[in-house]
């Protein structure tokens, strides 16, 4: 039994080494004095210096972040409204068909989304570039926001809304004072996921971007096709740190949500207990 346990650990360790080796390999050579990913000749920061001096690359990073930020912001607004629309739809046929339509973009392969959006923009004579990329990112981020916000809306009890209405709140007040604070965690998760979707995307952007506009993924692809360039390794070092920060940030949001939920549950339980004792 004991030895079997160790075998399973060995297996896990091998899988983890396999998972991380390529990433570490990439980052290690970002400090190499050579110009290829072979024969580590000496330690240097010159590729990082070259990266930070590369104005074209910096412009691309800014553009990528701008698209990610704007698209996730707009997608969060439209997605939240969509979730509220679905939540107030009482006919289950309509509701289920809207939900299925919602999920189409989530299961479609990226190539199909990219190709069909390209046909769409061309048919409407929308020029390819920043605008088309931004619209596409908004479009493929909306369904995930809906899926993040909808469960929060469903958790909300009808009696709370009735109480607010009985106490004389207007519709606007109910939305801003009751519904909105309650679903905020879902909105934040949705925004965050939309942001990472946008940063991650390559295939859709590749299809709908023209010659003038580049995002980071498209640029990496273009450079990687030309062969090894240790500036990309330096870039991957920077992006690895950024990914780490994002993961930590996301888990912070998650645990915060969970502790809030736990607090909520504890509160409900104590209320139930108080209720029992008074009887």
């Amino acid at each position: 039994m004991k030895t079997k346990f160790k075998w399973s650990h060995l297996y896990l360790v091998i899988v983890f080494i396999l998972l991380y080796l390529p990433i570490m390999y990439l980052i290690t050579y970002s400090f190499s004095d050579g110009s290829r990913m072979t024969n580590f000749t000496g330690f240097t920061f010159k590729h990082y210096a070259a990266l930070f001096a590369d104005t074209r690359m910096i412009q691309i990073v800014i553009d990528t972040l701008l698209v990610a930020l704007l698209s996730s912001l707009v997608a969060t607004i439209i997605g939240t409204l969509g979730a509220m629309a679905i939540n107030t739809t009482s006919r289950s046929v309509v509701r289920n068909s809207v939900l299925s339509l919602n999920n189409i973009l989530m299961v479609s392969p990226d190539v199909i989304i990219g190709a069909s959006f390209l046909i769409f923009y061309t048919a409407l004579k929308i020029p390819l570039g920043f605008g088309s990329v931004l619209m596409s990112h908004i479009a493929f981020s909306i369904p995930i926001v809906v899926l993040m916000v909808l469960p929060k809306l469903q958790e909300m009890s009808q009696s709370m809304l009735d109480a607010a209405r009985d106490l004389g709140s207007t519709n606007g007040q109910i939305i801003s004072r009751v519904i909105f604070p309650f679903i905020t965690p879902g909105i934040f998760s949705g925004f965050f996921m939309a942001f990472t979707y946008s940063l991650d995307d390559f295939a859709v952007t590749f299809f709908v971007t023209g010659n003038g506009f580049q995002t980071l993924s498209v640029e990496i692809y273009a450079r990687a096709r030309q062969g090894i360039d240790l500036e990309i390794n330096a870039l991957s070092g920077v992006m690895f740190i950024f990914a780490l920060l994002l993961v930590v940030g996301y888990y912070f949001i998650q645990t915060n949500n969970q502790s809030r939920k736990a607090k909520h549950q504890a509160l409900e339980e104590s209320e139930a207990l108080a209720h029992e004792t008074t009887h």
């Binding site: 390529p22 409204l81 509220m84 989530m106 909306i142 991650d200 390559f202 295939a203 991957s236 993961v247």
Partner: protein
């Protein structure tokens, strides 16, 4: 009152549904009936089914996706299973998820370095006096890199299904005299099947369409449905034929979803659920 606010919520969202969900799907089907000169025709479908090249390409693409999914599953199932029994499993899980946050193209790029003539693998082999091998631009490299990228997306759903497994049933099976192998085959595997199906779905469909990996790692030797679509749309500009292959890919997607049950969650969602 309630009706009208409902309608107001639907305005931006409905606009999105019509213009960015329904319209593109309709357009790609519509486009598949036009030839390169813009004439309405069924010739794209005719070409697809009659010329052996397209059928062969589709069969090849499905075969590659199958091999990738198979190896991914082979590595992922034990990983997910063993992970369940580790002490700090949330931390381990976080470590599995972290690589999925690294840009896919950077991971592919890493392998250009590792697999190249004077790269990591060949210098390692060189230590044993083995001459440099051509690894990059082979079927092996394509399958290896695709499987590498997909592994976390297979581990997560299987891990979740192992977590949901009722430990009591496993113990009951052992108490009733089943061997470890019997317990595994007849209790654990059937009860984690939903995770395996979700994982297969999350890996198989992208494997049909990962065109960037075929370009960067497979050279131009490996052509998948995704590569063919990209080629027709962005290089030869034959959108009609590209759309036809797109329709084939959509059909393939539905077949896979039908075979693996309709747990239609996007794979990227999986990494946020834990």
């Amino acid at each position: 009152m309630k009706k009208s606010t409902n309608a107001a919520y639907y305005i931006p969202y409905g606009f999105w549904l019509i213009f960015f969900v329904i319209a593109p799907v309709v357009l790609i089907i519509y486009q598949s009936f036009f030839d390169i000169n813009g004439h309405f025709t069924l010739s794209n479908y005719q070409t697809y089914f009659s010329s052996g090249t397209y059928i062969l390409m589709t069969v090849n693409s499905v075969w590659y996706a199958f091999v990738i999914t198979f190896f991914t599953l082979l590595v992922s199932y034990p990983t997910a299973y063993f992970l369940h029994y580790t002490k700090h499993k949330q931390l381990w899980l976080l470590l599995i998820i972290l690589p999925t946050w690294i840009n896919l193209l950077l991971k592919a790029y890493a392998f250009i370095g590792i697999f190249s003539q004077d790269g990591g693998i060949n210098s390692f082999l060189g230590l044993f006096g083995i001459p440099a091998q051509q690894i990059l631009f082979t079927d092996f490299s394509f399958i290896f890199v695709a499987a590498y990228i997909e592994i976390p997306f297979m581990i997560l759903p299987i891990f979740n299904s192992v977590e949901e497994l009722n430990e009591g049933l496993v113990n009951a099976s052992r108490d009733l005299g089943a061997s470890s192998w019997q317990t595994f085959r007849q209790v654990i595997v059937p009860m984690t099947m939903s995770g395996v199906k979700a994982g297969v779905q999350a890996v198989f469909i992208p494997s049909l369409s990962l065109f960037m990996i075929t370009r960067l790692i497979g050279g131009n030797r490996v052509i998948t449905l995704g590569t063919a679509i990209e080629e027709h749309f962005l290089t030869t500009m034959n959108w009609g034929m590209g759309s036809t292959i797109g329709v084939v890919l959509i059909v393939a997607m539905f077949i896979i979803m039908f075979l693996t049950g309709e747990r239609n969650h996007h794979r990227k969602e999986a990494r946020h659920e834990n």
